[in-house]
Amino acid sequence: MTMKIKVLYFAALREALGSSGETVELPEGATTLAGVRAVIAGRGGAWTALAQMKNLRAAVNQRMADPDDAVTDGDEVAFFPPVTGG
């Protein structure tokens, strides 16, 4: 079964990728946040920014998440640089 998730990009990462978000179909075996990141960075070109950006943070369903956290069908995943509000 293929999983479809929504992926969002913010701030400097959004600019580096030239995209604020997309729907991604995950290949079998990509079941964690780290897996999702590797799949998208694996497209090459500008997408490698996702692998190279230092201290990249992520959220699953709008909660801060760790690389090992599970991603399942229909999830909303977001990648972004460390936050700088306040």
Binding site: F10, Q62, R63, V83, T84, G85, G86
Partner: protein, 151 residues
Amino acid sequence: MSVSVQQADFDIGAEIDALMAGRGDIGAVATFTGLVRDMNEGSGVTAMTLEHYPGMTEAALADIVEQAKARWDILAVRVIHRVGTLRPADRIVLVVVAGAHRGEAFAACEFIMDYLKTRAPFWKREDTPAGSRWVDARESDDSAAARWQQD
């Protein structure tokens, strides 16, 4: 609503009044206001644009407020964070904490700001004479947040 993310400016006095309305149990109100500076990392700043993650931002702020309420005996909290383009001296963020006594109010106000700085999804981009740049996260913000961690 104790948490707002908005483009509009806020009135600190009006926010305090609203928090206190109809109650007589508040003995202390601590507030923090963050402002846009005209200088950062050695260059002049002419404008700042704040991006955020709609939905998650509000949820993260509400979660931080809940954590503060669980840790300190505080009576009311108000957090406002602005987004969009701001100029030097503009207000960015407001935290108001009301309690029976000053100790809890001061501590909770500082805790909320420290956690907001490291956990709420906002990103600052500043315009300088040399062009526009994303503001880097500071390690000092991480250590400020870390000192509140309990084992």
